[in-house]
C-alpha cells in the first residue's frame, strides 16, 4: 500500500490540517482529528459548517485541497496529494458510509443490496449470504431479505443501508446525518441500532443533529462551525459546560 507509513499511532483515522474550498468558498479550514479504535465521535454544528464535507473528504467523495488523511497510520492523502487509484480502492475497504438519503439500490432486493459488494470483492457466496442474514437479524429486519427498498419504511431502509455498509466488515463506519430524512417516529429505531453498534465497540464517526443521542453514545463530541473545529471533548464537557461562546449559542438555540 502507501509507502509512507507512520507507526507510533493507534488511530484508525487521522486527519491533519485538512482544507477544502468550493471555488472561493472555504468549507474546511485546517481540520485535524483522530479517531481511536472502538470510539464513537459525533460531529455537531449548524448547516454549512462543513460537517458533511469533512465526512465526504474522509471517504474520498470530495477531493481535499490540502492536508493529510491516514487510515491505520497509512497515508491515503499526504499534503493534498492522493494515493494511487489502486491504493485508494484498498483504503475504501476500510470504511463504510451511511448516507442521509440511504441511497439503497431500488432495483435490488434487500439481500442483493447487502451482498453484491462483498461478492464483487470475491468473497464466498454462502458466507456472504449467511453474514447478510445475521446482519439483517441484528438490524431487526428478519424476513425482509426479499423485499425491495420501496416496500420498506424510511427507518427500515436506513437499517438496510447500515447492514449494507457493515457487510464489507469496515474498520470504521461514517454516518452522514443518518436520521435527518426520517420522521421523528422512525428516528429512534435507527439510533437504537447505532447505539447497539457502539456497545459492540464499532468505531464510528457520526454527523448528527440528534443532541441527546450524541451526548449519550459518543466518546467525543466535535462542534464545528465555519469550517473549523470550535470545540471538542468529552460529551458531558461539551454539552454540560461548553467553553466557547459559539458552542453555547448553538446549543442554546437547539434547546429552544
Amino acid at each position: 500500500m502507501a509507502e509512507t507509513t507512520k507507526n507510533e499511532t493507534t488511530a484508525i483515522l487521522e486527519i491533519r490540517a485538512l482544507q477544502k474550498s468550493f471555488g472561493a468558498l472555504s468549507v474546511l479550514k485546517d481540520i485535524s482529528l483522530d479517531v481511536e479504535p472502538g470510539n464513537v465521535v459525533s460531529i455537531i454544528g449548524p448547516s454549512g459548517s462543513g460537517k458533511s464535507t469533512l465526512l465526504r473528504c474522509a471517504t474520498f467523495l470530495e477531493t481535499a485541497d490540502g492536508g493529510d488523511i491516514l487510515y491505520d497510520g497509512q497515508y491515503a492523502v499526504k499534503q493534498g496529494v492522493y494515493a494511487s487509484k489502486a491504493d485508494l480502492a484498498k483504503f475504501r475497504t476500510r470504511f463504510g458510509l451511511v448516507f442521509q438519503n440511504f441511497n439503497l439500490f431500488p432495483h435490488y432486493s434487500v439481500m442483493k443490496n447487502i451482498s453484491e459488494a462483498p461478492l464483487l470483492h470475491g468473497q464466498d457466496k454462502a458466507e456472504v449470504q449467511e453474514y447478510a442474514m445475521s446482519l439483517l437479524k441484528k438490524m431487526g429486519l428478519e424476513g425482509k431479505e426479499n423485499a425491495y427498498p420501496c416496500q420498506l419504511s424510511g427507518g427500515q431502509q436506513q437499517r438496510v443501508a447500515i447492514a449494507r455498509a457493515l457487510a464489507l466488515k469496515p474498520e470504521i463506519l461514517f454516518f452522514d446525518e443518518p436520521t435527518s430524512a426520517l420522521d421523528p417516529e422512525l428516528t429512534g429505531e435507527v439510533l437504537k441500532v447505532i447505539r447497539q453498534l457502539a456497545e459492540e465497540k464499532m468505531t464510528m464517526v457520526v454527523v448528527t443533529h440528534e443532541m441527546p443521542f450524541a451526548r449519550a453514545v459518543s466518546n467525543r463530541v466535535i462542534f464545528m462551525d465555519g469550517g473549523v473545529i470550535v470545540e471538542q471533548g468529552d460529551p458531558e464537557a461539551v454539552f454540560g459546560d461548553p467553553q466557547q461562546e459559539r458552542t453555547k449559542q448553538f446549543l442554546r438555540n437547539y434547546q429552544r
Partner: protein, 215 residues
C-alpha cells in the same frame, strides 16, 4: 386486381419491412448508447462534435438522410449505388434512430440521483460495474415509455424506404396504387402498420410490466 391479390403482393414486401425494422432496432439501440456516452463525455471537443451530429440527424428529414446514404456515394465519389438497398436503408435508419435514442438515454442517465453513484463508489464498485449494475438497469426502466414511442414511430417510418425504391411493403403498395389508380393499397398498408404496432405495443407493455417489480 382483386383485394386479395393486393394483400398477397404487399405481404411479399412485409419481410423487407420487418428486415428494416428489426435491423434498425438491433443496431440503433446500442449505437445510441455509444452516442449518448460520447455526448456526455468530459472532453469538450468530443461532446461538442457529437452534439453537432445529433442536431444534424434530428434537424434534417429522415427522407433526405435516406437519399444521402443511398445515392451520396455515387454523387460524391462516383461509387456505384448499393445493389442491395437494404444496406444503405438500414445504415440511414440506424444512425437517425441512434441520435434520438442517444438523447433518450442521456435524459435517463442524468435522471439517476448522484447518490446512487456515490453509494456504489464507497462500496467499491468500479466505474464499469456501477454503470452496468446500478445505473443502466434503472435507466432502462425509466426510459421504456420513450423508447416504445420511438419504436412505434420506426414501424411507420419504414415506409420511407420507398424514396429509394426499396421493395418493402409500402413501396409495393404505392406501385400498385399508381398502376391500378386505386386508393385500396394505402388502406391495406394502414392496416398492416396498425397490426404491426399492436404487436409492438403488446411486447413493449410486457417488458415494462416485467420491470415493474420496484417503484
Amino acid at each position: 386486381m382483386s383485394l386479395m391479390t393486393m394483400i398477397v403482393k404487399m405481404s411479399e414486401g412485409l419481410g423487407k419491412t420487418c428486415a428494416i425494422f428489426f435491423l434498425t432496432v438491433l443496431f440503433s439501440l446500442p449505437l445510441g448508447m455509444i452516442v449518448a456516452l460520447l455526448r456526455m463525455s468530459k472532453n469538450k471537443i468530443v461532446s461538442a462534435v457529437t452534439r453537432f451530429f445529433i442536431t444534424i440527424l434530428r434537424g434534417t428529414p429522415l427522407m433526405l438522410q435516406l437519399l444521402a446514404v443511398t445515392y451520396g456515394p455515387y454523387y460524391l465519389f462516383g461509387a456505384g449505388v448499393a445493389r442491395n438497398k437494404l444496406i444503405p436503408v438500414v445504415i440511414a435508419f440506424s444512425i437517425n434512430y441512434a441520435a434520438y435514442f442517444a438523447e433518450i438515454y442521456r435524459g435517463g442517465i442524468e435522471s439517476i440521483p448522484v447518490g446512487q453513484y456515490e453509494a456504489a463508489t464507497v462500496l467499491g464498485y468500479s466505474k464499469f460495474q456501477t454503470f452496468m449494475r446500478i445505473i443502466l438497469p434503472q435507466v432502462v426502466k425509466r426510459i421504456m415509455p420513450s423508447v416504445t414511442n420511438e419504436i412505434v414511430t420506426l414501424v411507420k417510418d419504414t415506409s420511407m424506404a420507398f424514396t429509394v425504391s426499396y421493395q418493402e411493403m409500402f413501396t409495393i403498395g404505392k406501385q400498385i396504387a399508381n398502376s391500378q389508380t386505386s386508393f385500396m393499397p394505402f388502406l391495406v398498408a394502414g392496416v398492416f402498420y396498425y397490426v404491426f404496432n399492436l404487436i409492438v405495443d403488446r411486447v413493449m407493455g410486457r417488458i415494462e410490466k416485467r420491470l415493474d417489480y420496484y417503484q
